[in-house]
């Protein structure tokens, strides 16, 4: 197992380098330079000053030199310095991880808690009125644009009713409150963002669950179980559900990069200092080091997520065994 993991990890390194090379090229292909944005068409910025900025940032060098410099820093875990504010890219990313992780974990858990039962019920009551109602509801959640739902909810809960704050992650000056009050304060701030994030993702997971469950229910061993006279509850929740959950494990593994990706629109509307906004603003400002930092993080997490899904699949599904582990020696 250890050897397998190690081998898989090593095999992914060239892949990672390939990804960074392509990403680097692509973001430099995008028109515009960071220096232009930094100076915002300010007529007081002289031509010479811009040349100077480009030189300081190394932007006057050929692209392969820039990439080589970037790569040689990366192997020392140096992501470079953000063009926008001269801060370490790593610092900028790390400071936003907790809130991003908190929100996306919370949403992920709620999505699974809600979507899985919806999927199961829809499959068991296949084509019933309940199935159709649930389907319509989750699709409405999926189709309604997040920013629009967010604004409507803010208008209702914050402006009209005054129950929840409009934006931000905590109220100003609550640092000295008791722990409980702080938790309540943060809780009030995250209700709407989490709701918006969740309502959009229910459709995917619940449909997956429904499909997978339907698939399983039609299998021979389920018919056998029923024929044996097992109670329907036992058939569904023990025999069918366990097998139907297998593909969901893959999805869980694949959602790993999403956890740190953040949600640009929701973070922007709700004013949440998350990673999505950071990278989005980085792209708009052509802040190459920051964007590359985000891409590397995303690539690493995607590769790890895939590996994790593979391994987890092997663990939960007895039919799949990792090569070289269970196989008899020789």
């Amino acid at each position: 197992m250890k050897r397998y993991l190690l081998k898989q990890l090593l095999a992914r390194i060239p892949l990672l380098i390939g990804i960074t090379l392509i990403s680097f090229m692509v973001i430099h292909l995008a028109p515009g330079k960071p220096t232009q944005l930094q100076t915002e068409m300010n007529p007081k910025v002289s031509y010479e000053a811009i040349q100077r900025l480009e030189k300081l940032y190394g932007l006057d060098q050929p692209l392969y030199v820039q990439y080589w410099r970037w790569l040689s820093r990366l192997v020392r875990f140096d992501f470079g310095i953000s063009f926008q504010d001269n801060r370490l890219v790593l610092d900028k990313i790390v400071e936003r991880i907790p809130i991003t992780l908190f929100l996306s974990f919370l949403s992920l858990i709620i999505v699974f808690l809600v979507a899985l039962p919806i999927g199961v019920i829809s499959a068991v009551r296949h084509n019933s009125l309940l199935d159709k109602t649930l389907t319509v509801l989750v699709f409405i959640g999926f189709a309604a644009p997040g920013f629009w739902v967010a604004l409507l909810l803010m208008q209702l809960f914050s402006v009209k009713l005054g129950w929840l704050p409009v934006s931000g992650i905590r109220s100003f000056g609550t640092e000295h409150f008791s722990l409980m009050e702080q938790v309540v304060d943060v809780g009030k701030h995250v209700v709407l963002p989490v709701f918006v994030a969740t309502s959009g993702s229910l459709a995917g997971i619940s449909r997956y669950m429904r499909g997978s469950m339907l698939n399983v229910i039609r299998q021979d061993y389920i018919r056998t179980a029923r024929a044996k006279g097992l109670p329907e509850g036992l058939v569904i929740y023990k025999h069918a559900l366990r097998n139907a959950l297998l593909p969901i494990v893959t999805i869980l593994g694949l959602s790993l990069p999403g956890l740190l990706g953040g949600a640009v629109i929701s973070e922007t509307i709700f004013g949440i200092p998350g990673l999505g906004r950071l990278f989005f603003e980085g792209v708009m400002a052509r802040d190459y080091p920051l964007v590359m930092g985000g891409l590397v993080m995303g690539a690493v997490l995607t590769l790890l997520g895939n590996l994790l899904a593979d391994v987890a699949y092997g663990l939960v599904d007895p039919r799949i065994r990792i090569l070289g582990e269970e196989r008899p020696a020789g």
């Binding site: 028109p31 007529p43 910025v45 010479e48 100077r52 936003r96 402006v159 409009v166 934006s167 004013g271």
Partner: protein
């Protein structure tokens, strides 16, 4: 011009004039004639008291609080509260002393001697002296410091410390805009001399001489300032200043609605349609005054069609600019007649806008050879149809609407216009800088000094420079240069009045409008004073009566 996805709506009424320069630049979303504030009776509360906190919101987060590196609007707003320059503009847009008590300009205009205020201390208690001024200058011209502001200071020959509170600046040649450039915030030598400016905690923890001291910066959430009780112009009344980062316009407006922020720059739509309710009338006070910016349609003057003055004139006369102001700004603006705005002393009130006259426009076009020879409904000349593409940047609804309006009105003249909306960075780097355009819509935010060199001088046409329309007029060039050499205010005024007239005569672009700035403030703030400079100039005199104070700050 505003960077579209992250529109820069730092509360520009607080920028010090010199910093306003360009930050509000392209903020074309608001603006029109000077008006009195909403008919709001200030409750008679004659004795200002201290206390309370002022909360504002900006779309973008500040990036860097080192004054000479702060190139974005949000940073400049904070820098303006924490630091001082040697000079500043007063309420009437005239230069006055800030850290400098007074100054003298030598007869030949080559030397400026600044006499600094004594007894000014940095927020850490260290005394402010000439050394700090010299240090700031040295950093501004240091090639290793990535400052965008070196331009004006490269004309300086030498900065010399006469004594601890006197500094003498010598220029290579007389340079009148140089005086205003000393509004650049001065940095503390004792804290920065051994620091690498590109990598110092100071950029997020600044120490200045200004009315407010830096307290805390929570990334992507807020920047908090607290009052500097020892401020040399007297203690500001309001104890705290909080700049919240709220990256979405609609959210920002909802925050205003729930009183989560105390101020906002309204859009014309918000001003006319969304802030008239009894709630807003009671809770807020609105202001309206001409901003220091204008919108225009620029033409590529290297294009033979646009080289012809008659064509440019026809395009302007065929465009109903008042209709644009009424339709797009809801009347909150006025027609622009050239490179200056009405509140500037350089503005020549005798220049009146070309009338809207489609018939005269058609006549001018015919005179220039543009007529519908083949009867297809479009003008043509030598077998070529009059057709061009009008481009502008994505994310600015007003410019998009201007484009559509211009398209319709020019169509009536027989000119076929295509519209192309392009993402900001690509728009600037691939089209404007490369001069690959026929016509475009943009705006300029202006500095308080009327120097036109960077935008209108014929030498400023390299990629990345600002005379991208490639305007060239020898006489204008000479006058611009003369304006930069002249210190005498009356003489300068005469020069710029003449320039204003000459440029409008040339119609190098179609000047559209000067939008109104439309700030709104919570009604509990008293003492807000509307002046030609705007409303932020006397912020340290604002106060909240005791019984209306909302936040406990001490």
């Amino acid at each position: 011009m505003q960077h579209p996805p992250l529109p820069n709506s730092a509360p520009f009424f607080f920028l010090k004039p010199l910093q306003i320069l360009f930050f509000s630049l392209f903020f074309l979303s608001g603006c029109g004639g000077a008006d009195l504030p909403e008919e709001k009776q200030f409750s008679a509360d004659p004795i200002p008291v201290t206390g309370d906190r002022f909360i504002t919101g900006s779309i973008a987060e500040p990036k860097n609080l080192i004054p000479i590196l702060a190139s974005d609007g949000a940073s400049a707003t904070i820098v303006g509260q924490v630091f001082n320059g040697l000079v500043k503009y007063d309420a009437n847009i005239e230069l006055t002393g800030d850290l400098a008590e007074r100054w003298e300009v030598s007869e030949d205009g080559l030397e400026i001697t600044f006499h600094l205020r004594k007894n000014v201390r940095w927020h850490d208690g260290y005394p402010f002296t000439s050394e700090d001024v010299l240090f700031t200058y040295q950093k501004l011209i240091d090639p290793k410091v990535p400052t965008p502001y070196s331009g004006d200071f490269e004309r300086v020959k030498d900065v010399e410390i006469v004594d601890s509170h006197t500094v003498k600046v010598t220029y290579k040649e007389p340079f009148s805009p140089g005086l205003a450039s000393w509004g650049m915030a001065v940095m503390p030598k004792h804290l920065l001399e051994n620091e690498d400016l590109t990598n110092t905690p100071f950029s997020r923890n600044p120490i200045g001489t200004g009315p407010y001291r830096f307290k805390e910066w929570k990334t992507a959430q807020y920047v908090e300032l607290e009052v500097n009780p020892d401020y040399f112009e007297g203690r500001p009344y309001i104890d705290g200043y909080l700049d919240r980062v709220i990256p979405d316009q609609s959210t920002l407006f909802l925050e205003l609605r729930v009183e989560g922020v105390d101020s906002l720059n309204l859009t014309p739509l918000q001003y006319q349609r969304q802030t008239g309710s009894p709630f807003f009338k009671e809770t807020y006070q609105r202001f309206r005054y001409p901003s220091f910016s204008y919108a225009y349609i620029g033409y590529n003057l290297a294009d033979p069609r646009f080289k012809d003055l008659r064509v440019r004139k026809a395009l302007t006369m065929g465009l109903n600019r008042q209709a644009i102001i009424d339709g797009i700004l809801f009347g909150l603006g006025r027609e622009s007649t050239g490179p200056f705005v009405p509140t500037s002393w350089a503005y020549n009130p005798k220049v009146s806008p070309l009338p809207y006259d489609p018939d005269e426009a058609k006549r001018l076009l015919a005179e220039a050879g543009w007529e519908d020879h083949d009867g297809d409904g479009w003008l043509d000349k030598e077998g070529e149809r009059f057709e061009f593409t009008l481009i502008t940047n994505q994310g600015n609804e007003q410019r998009k609407m201007i484009a559509e309006l211009a398209q319709r009105q020019w169509e009536k003249l027989g000119i076929r216009v295509k519209i192309w909306i392009i993402e900001w960075t690509a728009f600037i780097s691939q089209f404007i800088d490369q001069k690959k355009f026929e016509a475009f819509i943009l705006g300029w935010g202006l500095g308080r000094d009327p120097d036109l060199y960077d935008i209108w001088h014929s030498s400023k046409t390299r990629a990345g420079e600002f005379n991208f329309i490639q305007y060239h007029n020898e006489a204008v060039d000479q006058l611009i240069e003369e304006g930069r050499r002249t210190f005498d205010q009356e003489k300068r005024k005469a020069i710029y009045h003449r320039l204003h007239w000459m440029i409008y005569e040339d119609q190098p672009c179609t000047f559209l409008y000067v939008p109104d700035a439309l700030p709104i403030f919570h009604a509990r703030f008293k003492g807000i004073e509307l002046a030609p400079l705007g409303v932020g100039h006397n912020f340290i005199k604002w106060y909240v009566p005791k019984h209306q104070q909302k936040y406990l700050t001490q």
